[in-house]
Each structure stands twice: as structure tokens, then as C-alpha cells.
């Protein structure tokens, strides 16, 4: 789902950084304590968990596989701003050391995958948690992933609209290529995983 370096021009990537940077500062200050020293282990742990989640491959029929994102689970557990900070760090590490995503598109990817999706998941879960928490978690994670994917497709479509020479793929093609697998496979897998993980965590809390 990440947009790689080179797909978007600075006309989009720099404003995205301008939007994301204050949110990074606010999220870090608000949720990771007044002392940065005390906050570091928590940030590092959550980032590492989110990073490793994205390396867990789920086998699919036909010999292929997909991977989890985990940002929605973090949002349901710790809130959307924590998920945003942790996912942004994951994206930075992936861009620097693993060649996934990129440094110029970090702001765009962080807003799409770390903020819009997890925030939607958290809001949906908050709305449904009292009546049916499992359904709320499933629906929230599914909705969150779809909104993240849609945001990425929309920003690619906007880039095509602004300058087709920069990103020549038309919006309908990008939308279909991204949304169809997300709606049919990845969203369901992410939603089921979120429900399983919340259930295991709740069982762990209840037993001890």
C-alpha cells in the first residue's frame, strides 16, 4: 500500500510533511509523557511491534500471501495518535533500511496509513464497542484499511490529475488495482486479525 519514492512530486509531498510534522510533535508530546526519556521505551516497543506485524505473512489460496498492517489494532488499543506516531516510525525504518515506501513520501504515507485509517477504525470501534465490541473491532479495522487504501489511491489520482507525466497511471486503474484486493482480501484478513488479537489480549488481562 505504500507509495514509493518518485511517484509523487514535491508539490504534494512537501505539503504532506507540513501537515504531518505538527501531528508528530503533538502526538509524541501528548501520548508519550512529558519526559522524552521515559517515553522512549514505549515508542520503541510499539513501533517494533507494528513493524514486526507487517512482516507476518498470511498464506492465501493459490500460493500467494499477504501481510498485516496492524495500525488499526494499535489505534484501538492505544488511540489514533499513538498509532500515527508508531506507524510513522515504522514507515521511516522501512524507507531507510528496507526500501519500502520512501523518504520523500513519508508524510503522505504516514497520513494515509497512520492517521486516516486508524482514526476511522478508532471512531467506528468507539461507536460500536458497547453494543458489540467484536463487530466494532471487525468493522473498524475493515473500514480503516479501506480508507487508508482509498486515501493512497486518491493521492495518486490527484498526482495524475496535476501532472500525468509524473504519475501516468489514470485514477480508475490505480483505484481498481488498490481497492479490489483491499476490499476482497486484505481488509477481511486485517479485520479478523484485529478481532483475534483483541480477544487474546482481553483473555490475558482477565486471567492475570
Amino acid at each position: 500500500m505504500h507509495i514509493p519514492d518518485g511517484f509523487l512530486a514535491p508539490t504534494l509531498t512537501i505539503p504532506a510533511y507540513a501537515v504531518a510534522a505538527p501531528l508528530w510533535v503533538w502526538g509524541t508530546r501528548k501520548h508519550f509523557g512529558p519526559s522524552q526519556m521515559d517515553a522512549l521505551p514505549a515508542v520503541g516497543a510499539l513501533t517494533a511491534v507494528a513493524f514486526v506485524l507487517q512482516t507476518i505473512m498470511i498464506p492465501l489460496p493459490g500460493g500467494t500471501s499477504t501481510h498485516l498492517v496492524g495500525a488499526c489494532l494499535l489505534a484501538l488499543l492505544r488511540g489514533p495518535l499513538v498509532a500515527f506516531v508508531a506507524e510513522s516510525l515504522v514507515l521511516l525504518l522501512q524507507a531507510l533500511f528496507f526500501g519500502a515506501g520512501g523518504i520523500t513520501v513519508l508524510g503522505v504515507n504516514a497520513l494515509a496509513m497512520g492517521l486516516i485509517g486508524p482514526l476511522a477504525a478508532w471512531l467506528a470501534f468507539q461507536a460500536l464497542r458497547r453494543r458489540a465490541p467484536a463487530i466494532g473491532a471487525f468493522f473498524g479495522a475493515y473500514l480503516g484499511l479501506q480508507l487508508s487504501t482509498l486515501s493512497v489511491a486518491l493521492i495518486l489520482g490527484l498526482q495524475h490529475h496535476l501532472d500525468a507525466a509524473q504519475f501516468p497511471t489514470p485514477f480508475p486503474v490505480a483505484l481498481a488495482a488498490m481497492m479490489l484486493p483491499s476490499l476482497a482480501i486484505t481488509g477481511v484478513i486485517e479485520a479478523l486479525y484485529t478481532v483475534f488479537a483483541l480477544r487474546v489480549l482481553a483473555r490475558g488481562r482477565n486471567t492475570g
Binding site: 506485524l53 526500501g99 519500502a100 501516468p168 486503474v173
Partner: protein, 187 residues
């Protein structure tokens, strides 16, 4: 050549600005020339960086190129202009290649020395990632050994749910230990 200290910071800043500038280029000859230039400037890192870029960043842009070409031919019945796709692929390759080459040539931890909080966060996170990846892998191998058949997607999901709970508990404790150890050593 390995850049350290202040030189590393200058190289990293130059690389960052260059990435943004390169992300706006569409001239194929210029992009190809810049790839050659980076390879000439950082010859010791060039082969490894090229291999990593070819394995990570380039396949995605090539897949998008093929997908859009097929769509243009079969659905729109037009011949797509390959120049823009070639520029996109080269731009992606150039930024990935230069990123790997530059990061291979600088002492990143040394460059981050003036920002000890950032250094510690990087060390804590990377240390956690290594141990948690081992945990996830061992858990997956354990699941495979317990089942008489190949694990299905549902088995994988259930296992991932359990692993996540363990990781969240373990990582919080381990990260605190690593952070305390770093602080006691003067970071």
C-alpha cells in the same frame, strides 16, 4: 570512504534535498546520468545498493507499468506513451539506489550523535525489531510443527493474534531494559 560526524550530517542533508529534487525530474537521460553519477561518487556501495534497489523498489514500478500498459491496450485500445513510465521507473530506481548507497556510506549513529534521544529511539526500536522477528518466526515454526497439515489463513491469523499479545507484553519490558542500559552507558 565512510562519512562520520559532521561530514555524515552534511551528506545526509544533501541526500535528503536531492531526493526531493529528483522526485520532480522527468528527463530520462538526466535520470540515467544521475544514477551513473551516484555510482561514480560512491563506488564501494554501488553494487550492493543496486542489488537492493532492484529487489525492493524497482519491481513495484515495473508492475504498475505493466498493469497500466495492459489496461491501455485492452480496455482503452490505445498505445500508451512509454516515456512517462520509463521516467517513473528510473526516478524510483534513482532515489532507492542513492538512498541505499548514501546510507551505506555514512555512519548513521555517529551522524545522530548530537541528538541522543533520536539515537536511543533508533537503537531501542531496532533491537526490539530483531528480537520480535525471531519470536514471530519461532512462533510460526511452532504452529507448523503442531499441525499435521500446512497452516491455513485462519490458522495464521489466530497465531498472529496470539503472537501480537505476547509481543506487546514482552516488548514493553525489553524496551525498558535496553533503554535503561543505554542511559547507564551515557547515551
Amino acid at each position: 570512504m565512510r562519512f562520520r560526524g559532521r561530514a555524515a550530517r552534511v551528506v545526509l542533508l544533501t541526500w535528503l534535498v536531492a531526493c526531493f529534487v529528483c522526485s520532480a525530474l522527468a528527463n530520462i537521460a538526466l535520470l540515467a546520468g544521475l544514477i551513473v553519477l551516484v555510482a561514480m561518487l560512491l563506488p564501494r556501495q554501488a553494487a550492493r545498493a543496486a542489488r537492493r534497489a532492484l529487489l525492493t523498489a524497482v519491481p513495484l514500478s515495473v508492475a504498475i507499468l505493466l498493469l497500466t500498459w495492459v489496461h491501455a491496450r485492452l480496455v482503452l485500445h490505445v498505445r500508451p506513451d512509454l516515456h512517462a513510465y520509463a521516467a517513473l521507473a528510473l526516478r524510483t530506481a534513482l532515489i532507492a539506489f542513492s538512498s541505499f548507497a548514501v546510507l551505506g556510506a555514512v555512519d548513521l549513529m555517529g551522524a545522530l550523535a548530537p541528538w541522543p534521544t533520536l539515537s536511543r529511539l533508533l537503537v531501542v526500536t531496532l533491537a526490539q525489531i530483531h528480537s520480535l522477528r525471531l519470536l514471530a518466526r519461532e512462533s510460526w515454526l511452532g504452529l507448523r510443527s503442531r499441525l499435521p497439515r500446512k497452516p491455513s489463513a485462519i490458522d495464521g491469523l489466530r497465531n498472529a493474534g496470539g503472537v501480537t499479545a505476547t509481543m506487546l507484553t514482552l516488548s514493553a519490558r525489553n524496551a525498558r531494559d535496553v533503554s535503561d542500559a543505554l542511559r547507564s552507558r551515557g547515551f
